[in-house]
Symmetry: C4
Subunit: 231 residues, 4 copies
């Protein structure tokens, strides 16, 4: 086995773990649609205006659906960002990944909670749980990244310390923001929810900042995760 | 790395994005089955004719299920048509793809809305929402294709301007038709729904028009998306 | 591109279509679990015997769950049996495959129908619908196989006429049996359901009849679908 | 076809079976989230404390969700552990794998059963069914492994008898523990549930015991399943 073939084999070490994780992400993100429920009107009161206002009254469902969808999508992108640099797995890494997947599948639950209670007196708790779940998810990401980087055992040899530092900062960033959103929920649930929405927009925008397509890197490089790998 | 290996690497750049998208499409299309609900009959009134007429009364569910299924299937084919020509991704492209996936997962919601309200006085609004969602989806496709083709940065070098123009026409076509279907819903919901159904049949038929199998291209060419790539 | 590389490219032509189909099969087969509902007991009447008898009373759900699961599994195996021989797709083939996927995702609906109505006076119709869906699915398989084999345009060059004939027989077999099961449902629903169950057991047993592992074929051959490919 | 190409072909023989199984595992594990239901409070009684206590009262749901999630995750890892050593499939192996998949998709059902009945007088039966399902799943694993190893026909030539023996022990271990948990359920449901939880923690810890990363094996080796393959 020459060095090139070995490199190929190395790539594949986490391949199954990754494709299984992808499957879980894809199913979890699609199940969010169950938060959108068709309104039930009493048989005698069905009319275009009645259905229209019933659909409009569901705006918390639409808002949380979009926020959760976008957040899972960003989480998926971050997951790949981590796996791009990792070329093998050990027990703590697998545990951390399992915890992360568990939390990703949980997201439809707080999403539905907020959708149902945002316009009630219990909105504060619903939004606190929502933001709180993202605190825990962010913790799981930090755990996964810590498991990947401690002693650099699992990282691909080509990953530079600067890249590691960059992703560490990137992942840590969410923790204080989501913690703040959790606390703010008890003051104003809408501000809390707004903060959760802003964070994914911010992440999405920064995730590809300094994208190689702007810096004209050689064409053989992977654009998808290249921002993470400051070659 | 020689040019052939680089070509292989280029192919893989959007591989994960694509397989994740495929997963979302596959789950979303399968979740449509939840629009088919087993009718509940009162315990004393269960008989073959009663169940038969209850099943028959659900025809709007069957109709919208088939239309939505076929439309998502065509959307999946179009998605691949676009990704065949794209060999790398940047931020706007990823955003547009995320928006598209969000809208694809939403499809079961308006489908269920039409199924429940087609035989009620609120049918007009239900059908307008249904066609309206497809207007937005078509917009997302145009956005995705625009993100892929602006300055030709993301397109595979082998893609010709004629191919780009052809797919642009192909995708733009749906916009006026779905807009018309949205407006027509307020005049006649059935005509609106019929238009949505016709459009996917039309697309399915034209998607492979001029298929290479008819034009006897060399056997090494990909038949699946070849009509889009007028080699 | 030399002939070997071209062969590799040929393999991949239906790759995406197949993996998308696999995704739909996997989701549809897993969604069957929603036919197993936890029984709801009145708060005052909850006890081990009460829950036990409530669980036992759900036996039609278990029976149809197992039958439908096994049938989709066999259908998945047959789908691969067909795709093993096909190396490219054209419009009619894609249409037939789309129809097949639509019908596969429908299976949870008649399954749930039988589960709810097997012990009621409407059992005859429920079982007739159940078997009837499989008649239509079998028709879709025959259509898919016909689309693959007409003029042999889509078949891999190495496929022999004997293999084609064998699979044709194999797929056609189900049609009369499922038609019989549909008719028998009006005479005795249990016999109809039993026939549907027997058929998948029979298919499972014959699918690998004459398996190469028994006939000691060279080790390079694919065992999974080899029975279909009488080399 | 030289020996290297043949080796490549051998790898792929169970590829589709495996990716289909992965899909089923991924969907089944994600569907567990439906055990987490948003509590419904009467419109007049909605407040933060009321929602808080309603959420807290659902702790059996959270507990069983986590236990089932972790168990399916471990099952997925074991499934791959088996498929790493298998390079082709025959009829009994396919039957055993189908049975296993059926049982994996069933897991959400007993999970929901325990969640709903853990704090009721019927807890004993619910927990017995829960542990009992895992007895049957463990039986299916033993069956699958037996089908893979009898006469060593399906095993990859490089698998050593020591590795086979090790995995045999590993899989057999669960049987007495789950049987015990089933019986204990009638004495104390919580102990039964605790035992099921402990088992997956124990398995997770032992699964990677003696991981190559600790034994400094050459870097070309697969870390994911290496513990099973005592090279």
């Amino acid at each position: 086995m020459n060095s090139e073939q070995r490199a190929g084999a190395v790539e594949k070490q986490t391949g199954r773990l990754e494709s299984f994780s992808d499957g879980v992400f894809a199913v979890a993100i699609t199940l969010l649609v169950f938060n959108l429920q068709v309104p039930h009107l009493p048989a005698g009161a069905i009319s275009v205006p009645a259905l229209g206002s019933a659909l409009f009254a569901q705006w918390p469902s639409y808002l949380t659906f979009i926020t959760s969808f976008a957040t899972i999508l960003i989480m998926w992108a971050s997951h790949h960002g981590i796996f791009r640099m990792v070329y093998r797995a050990d027990t703590p890494f697998l545990f951390a990944n399992g915890l992360l997947l568990l939390l990703v599948t949980v997201v439809p639950f707080p999403t539905s909670l907020v959708a149902q209670y945002l316009s009630t007196p219990a909105a504060a708790l619903a939004c606190a749980v929502y933001a709180g779940v993202f605190v825990v998810i962010n913790g799981a990401y930090n755990l996964l990244w810590w498991a990947a980087t401690r002693q650099r055992r699992l990282l691909h040899p080509s990953v530079t310390p600067r890249q590691v530092k960059r992703l560490t900062r990137h992942i840590l960033l969410g923790l204080p923001v989501y913690l703040l959103a959790t606390l703010l929920a008890f003051w104003n649930p809408y501000v809390s929810l707004g903060l959760c929405s802003c964070l994914w927009i911010f992440w999405a925008l920064t995730f590809y900042e300094g994208s190689p397509s702007r810096r004209r890197l050689p064409s053989g490089q992977d654009m998808e995760t290249a921002p993470e790998i400051d070659a």
